[in-house]
Symmetry: C2
Subunit: 445 residues, 2 copies
């Protein structure tokens, strides 16, 4: 077909961005595509406002059901967000034979595995490039650009709010709570920032990246997740003195144990990255995804991870991809599309997730202790019992309390062994309970 | 078809990498693709050697004509390099109805515009991701991932040899000639390094990127090209003191003049980039392409720009892309492929290249002068005549000669105006002829 008729669910920030591209860049889209993308209809609960865009050619409705069932729509863009009613509308659109494009990471992370077979059955595609790292075409890179590679690791700075906060804490020596307030005032953080700062948003995105990298199923519930709210300005400084920077990373790696069983390691946590690493240079609210493959070595994809215009750019890229291959809107169309996860559906594997206790890392540890003789000796003695050796150790005075911070960098050990040691250390006299444990990653680039 | 039969022309470094992926990653490729990629045949002039890979299932020949005309080959990978005989073999393969994938930037930059219509006529695709920035899937990002955007600028570090030399000069305070020798000893630079260090290789790649970004034709001959061979350790230091780093960049931007005529600016030269810019962090032999679009804002793609394995990764990504859409090998196949330049052929434009005299830049100028009273006054007076104002000026002693280096950073002016001023300045008494002119770019990210 020479015209792809598009409907949008949700005219919020990103919805308006997508509408703007479809209307204002229509000629450019046609030059690229040889087909016309036409915005036919849009649904939003609040239609009584100034959209700042001429929508006179667009059928507006406050009932999303009209869009997902309409006969004159080939592709539905879902930009409602959240689990419900987004899931219901997407499922209904698919059932009515419509391709779907979404920016909804929560939806794909949680319900993708139920929606993909439905789409395959109906011969339609689901595009979700905008769900991970906003405007950056990183899913396309992983799925198609690196198709020749067995993926060895994925590291992502996937949440702009956290990266903004960490950058500002480092640049200004400011504490977490103060910077968070500032980020909220600037609109970079929500009134309830839990989803962002506790790593849940990053975990949604990581679970999608991991499935695409390794041909496994999306297992959001199995991602080990820690946020940035326990990090102090003093930690950032201590880490910097050791030659590192703290970034909230989503990390995914494949494993094969001695018996040949494959597993996937998935974790989200504040991470020490070497100051010279490419990913350490990603500051403010920018996102980046570093993917290493056995042939391509290290690659990195950088850009805006959120915002009306960048996210809409990724949404429309998916629309263009789908429009390129859908010749007649029939069930045949989808077979020309890359399968949504970059692997043929039947070749995807039920890979188990590596338990967090089994991962191997180097660690940054910060203990708060009372400044008594023998405390360091007691701590290092426990570590030694657990065969955890140290790369660095320093003692810093903290101004706000009477306690003293002891900072250590360990050599590699398993998480399980480390946690056992920490548990013994925090039961020592003169050692306070709030230990900060950060994991360190080395980067080839 | 469920099997794509591949032939390789040239079993050099990259050819062996491509063969290795096709053989060693066959199962992974099938999982991703749902089809089998089979290496059927390969041609090389020297077959009497140990390939370090089991090629017993592969028909080997020293006659490339056998491959490009073979009935049992669907897709030919051209890895001979250079203009001829590569062009002849590629044209012949297309005439015989075979898809072509190549890593040959010289070929595409020079002969692409003749080969694309031939391929369209025969209903086959030409893939050349590997021709630009090696393993980095940047053409895919530009063509597909950013399809919703009018592209506002493209900046590329596209030659690993130059980036390696500049990084080493900066890190070690070493001079160009010494570092070049070291790069040659390490195999990073050719015995005759002209192609790399004088910017020609970068210009090949830039001309392809520009055509893809703006939907224009490839105009390699119109790229303004300067290399890095005139840069001294002292320049790198002086630039660093001003807050910049020197990178050899390929730069492409669109222009619209007052009459509405669109033009494209294409230039390759050593460029001052702010130390904090993302692209300034790209060191050693790494490549990166920064693309900014009107919706996506700034994006950057980073990775290995050369080498057996990374380049082969990009070659096979193209093979996978073509295999995904070629259902029956007929002339229909190509219509499902993105047009090679990211624009429908009939929508591509004959955009004129902006003459270099019309570009606007800020400049770094280094004059060698005899230390006489009034020299600086005389120079700045000429600049003032040309309405070129200065942002910074400093005078540095040079050890090797009696002459003194005067370093300046100008505000924005046109290249034509600057060159006119320079020509007057070099005719002044006490000013030597070898002026170094570097252009400065600002970066949003």
């Amino acid at each position: 077909m020479n015209e792809i008729r598009v409907g949008i669910l949700g005219l919020g920030t990103i919805g308006m961005g997508a509408a703007r591209i479809l209307i204002e860049q229509q000629e450019l889209m046609s030059r690229r595509l040889g087909k016309t993308l036409r915005l036919v209809a849009a649904a939003d609960r609040n239609l009584d406002r100034d959209f700042g865009l001429d929508l006179s050619e667009v059928r507006l409705t406050d009932d999303a059901n009209e869009i997902v069932t309409a006969d004159d729509i080939d592709l539905v863009i879902e930009l409602i967000g959240g689990y419900e009613p987004a899931r219901t509308f997407v499922a209904r659109a698919i059932e009515h034979g419509k391709h779907v494009v979404t920016a909804n990471k929560a939806l794909i992370a949680k319900h993708g595995e139920a929606l993909f077979p439905l789409a395959a059955e109906k011969g339609v595609a689901i595009g979700f490039e905008a769900a991970v790292a906003g405007g950056i075409p990183c899913l396309k890179a992983l799925r198609e650009g690196l198709a020749a590679n067995a993926i060895e690791s994925v590291y992502g700075i996937l949440n702009g709010t956290c990266n903004f906060i960490l950058t500002k804490m480092e640049n200004e020596g400011a504490d977490y709570a103060d910077v968070l307030k500032e980020a909220q005032a600037l609109g970079y953080a929500e009134a309830d920032p839990t989803f962002d700062v506790e790593g849940i948003d990053t975990a949604h995105k990581l679970s999608i990246l991991a499935a695409m990298a390794f041909g496994s199923k999306i297992r959001f519930d199995e991602v080990f997740t820690e946020g940035i709210s326990k990090i102090s300005a003093a930690d950032i400084e201590a880490v910097h003195d050791l030659g590192y920077r703290i970034k909230l990373l989503g990390i995914a790696k494949p494993h094969k144990d001695d018996s040949g069983e494959e597993r996937v390691e998935m974790r989200v946590h504040p991470t020490l990255v070497p100051l010279a690493a490419q990913i350490a240079q990603v500051s403010d609210s920018y996102n980046a995804v570093q993917v290493s493959g056995d042939f391509v070595e290290h690659t990195m994809y950088f850009g805006r991870g959120a915002g009306e215009r960048p996210t809409a750019s990724a949404v429309i890229a998916d629309v263009v991809d789908i429009a390129r291959v859908c010749s007649d809107g029939s069930a045949d169309a989808v077979k020309y599309l890359a399968p949504p996860m970059g692997f043929v559906e039947s070749a995807r594997k039920e890979l188990k997730t590596l338990p967090i206790a089994d991962i191997r890392c180097e660690y940054y540890l910060r203990f708060m202790v009372q400044d008594q003789p023998g405390v360091i000796a007691a701590i290092t003695s426990v570590l030694s019992d657990h065969r955890i050796s140290l790369e660095a150790l320093s003692q810093k005075e903290r101004h706000a309390t009477q306690a003293v911070a002891i900072v250590m960098l360990t050599h590699e050990t398993t998480e399980g062994n480390l946690q056992a040691a920490i548990s013994r250390i925090t039961s020592l006299t003169h050692v306070e309970e709030d230990v900060l444990i950060l994991r360190k990653e080395s980067f080839g680039a």
